[in-house]
Amino acid sequence: MSDIEKAIAGDEPSLVPYVTAGDPEPEATAEYVEALAAGGADVIELGMPFSEPIADGPTIQNAIQRALAAGTTPERFFEIVETLDVDVPLVCMTYYNLLYQYGDRKEGSDYERLRPFVRRAAEAGISGLIIPDLPVDESDPLREACDEFGVDLIFVVAPTTTDERLEAMRERVSGFVYVQARLGTTGAQADVSDATHESLARLAEWSVPKAVGFGVSEREHAEEIVATGADGVVAGSVFVDIVAEGDADEGTVAERLEAKAAELKAGALDGADERSGKVTDGAR
């Protein structure tokens, strides 16, 4: 069982927050990550900025643009990761082309071209990868490199994913499965779809833990997701919004990140209680 799997599948429901590394500048990221950990994050997703983020909504697109403008190259990303002083596992979310082009080698098999990235990621302290534009059918070379360096490869399951594709993912996934709660790309929205329940039901027999995301911004969302049966809650845009707003009267970015993480974590805990039958403050 990998670190990530342990962190998510533990006794408590888990929180997986996301921020874009290097947003608004590389120097800021360490403080933000530490704040999220302090707020109760169990695993932290760090976005490595790519110029064409087709799976991300406007909020994260803008964060990525800020990070790129501030010079957050893949190498700089790894340097940031190396400086982090947190004891939660870190997941790198980025796009396939950055893995493919990493390093000096510009030819060879996919496996050979992906290896340098995965090795560097493992060395820097990355425990897992989410590559939203890499379909499971194309993932074997990366899977092989991840296995070699002990890095988890996390897949996203959508409400529309076919059974056949689910089976292909089940054979290859590790760490956790990222359940997309509704159609669309990333972005904070007020509702969490009923589709969550259905999606989780389809994954009931899977051995890896399930974290549900896309649209989580409030304590109640987290509670509902966990009550529905998820092992963890993924939230991104809500944290990126805090970074985008900057320090404010209500607190510094770090303070507000920590508070939001704590809020969502509390929601998740409420959801777990609810699932196990206890009525909590947050339950309606």
């Binding site: 087709i54 190259t73 190498e75 534009d133 529309t160």
Partner: protein, 420 residues
């Protein structure tokens, strides 16, 4: 799903079912003509689009270059460019698939206007995503889309240009795949788009191959087409690929050389759009292909005087055919393209799109009195040349004049007295 190692389906999981559904529909309706789809498509292309377009011998260019130069007149297609072939095919396919709504992205507006026309013709609601900055730069095309009844959705994220519009359309499609079809405008994106768009555009080469044999009595020595994303290119080439394999015909893909074939890594900019000539393999917008990127794999900003060629990637099939040696990538720079624009306007009475002007300029570069032939291209152009005139230049009047005034273009007329 691939052309050699190029192509594929590098898209978010949420889009995979839509792509699989589309692949199935493509195979049934397009490849197998189920329910007479292709018959209806071809009939509508004829009656609504104006096909077949002529293959015209360009008398004065032929004289200038001492060769028989034939122009495939896609500029005469409804809407003013080859774009309609694809837009009409996809909107009709969406109708056969039972979709109730069309979305598309557009940069300069050519694909958006073609899609809006096709959607109006087939009575399909249509939303076109367009960067805010592009909306301001391309007002006539915005008007045309609106007049055809399309909603034009401004995309304000980032710089407000094509790539943000693509991202936003993908995102919109991801939330509405069940009733919505995304009409991609070139032979790019995930499978089945590159193959399907090519099949819709292949009518160009099918007609041209027959027409040239009627008119010249034989196959052409060369086919010349400009290449950005590459839909007019593959449309013109597809039927000739076996001839290229046999060594009978050379296929020249003329890319936008812009201001020079290099990449400025510091600025993240390539002052050109020549992915085939100078790009490296990578993954962009759902497909593995040749593209313009920095050493890290970040996509750089491309450039061309012609907005329709201004794209950092290229269709995966073209990347494959270049590697296989069946397509020869070449490029001409902005200045040469503008000169080509003026030359064709003056000597043949046809104002070409700035995109197509690149193909015109390639002839001058190779065969003109002051030409600088590159490698074997001059020889390979041969005696019978088919040039795909992919679109008309009415859309480019203002920008062509403006760009001409910045430069010293021999062939250009004096606009001073009329240009306020």
């Amino acid at each position: 799903t691939k052309f050699g190692e190029y192509g594929g389906q590098y898209v978010p999981e949420v889009l995979m079912p839509a792509i699989e559904e589309l692949t199935d529909a493509y195979e049934r309706y397009v490849l197998e003509n189920e329910d007479g789809f292709m018959d209806e498509f071809r009939e509508r292309l004829a009656d609504f689009g104006g096909r077949p377009t002529p293959l015209q011998r360009a008398d004065q260019l032929s004289e200038r270059y001492d060769a028989d130069v034939y122009l495939k007149r896609e500029d005469l297609l409804h809407g003013g460019a080859h774009k309609l072939n694809n837009a009409l095919g996809q909107v009709l396919l969406a109708k056969y698939m039972g979709k109730e709504r069309i979305v598309a992205e557009t940069g300069a507006g050519q694909h958006g206007t073609a899609t809006a026309m096709a959607a109006a013709h087939l009575d399909m609601p249509c939303e076109i995503y367009m960067g805010r900055r592009d909306i301001n730069r391309q007002r006539p095309n915005v008007f045309r889309m609106r007049l055809n009844g399309a909603e034009v959705v401004p995309v304000t994220v980032g710089r407000g240009t094509l790539k943000e519009a693509i991202n936003e359309t993908m995102r919109e499609w991801a939330t509405s795949v069940e009733d919505t079809h995304y009409v991609i405008g070139s032979i790019v994106g995930p499978h089945p788009f590159p193959r399907m768009v090519r099949d819709f555009q292949a009518v160009i080469g099918e007609e041209a191959r027959e027409q040239i044999q009627d008119k010249a009595g034989r196959l052409p020595d060369s086919v010349v087409a400009c290449a950005g994303g590459g839909s007019n290119t593959m449309g013109a080439f597809h039927e000739f690929v076996p001839d290229a394999e046999d060594g009978d015909t050379t296929l020249f893909a003329v890319e936008a050389g812009g201001e020079g074939l290099f990449v400025d890594e510091d600025e993240g900019v390539a002052p050109h759009s020549a992915s085939l000539s100078s790009g490296d393999e990578g993954v962009l917008h759902g497909a593995r292909t040749k593209l313009l990127q920095d050493a890290d794999g970040q996509i750089v900003e491309s450039h061309s005087v012609s907005s329709g060629l201004d794209y950092a990637g290229v269709g995966p099939e073209l990347s494959y055919l270049v590697d296989e040696g069946h397509v020869t990538p070449v490029s001409v720079d902005d200045d040469a393209a503008l000169e080509g624009f003026h030359r064709l306007s003056q000597v043949e009475g046809i104002i070409p799109a700035l995109e197509s002007a690149h193909a015109v300029a390639f002839l001058e570069q190779q065969l003109g009195p002051d030409g600088v032939p590159a490698g074997t291209a001059e020889r390979d152009l041969g005696d019978v040349i088919v040039l795909n005139l992919s679109g008309r230049g009415d859309k480019d009047l203002e920008s062509a004049i403006e760009e001409t005034e910045k430069r010293d273009i021999d062939a250009a007329p004096d606009m001073g007295v009329f240009h306020e």
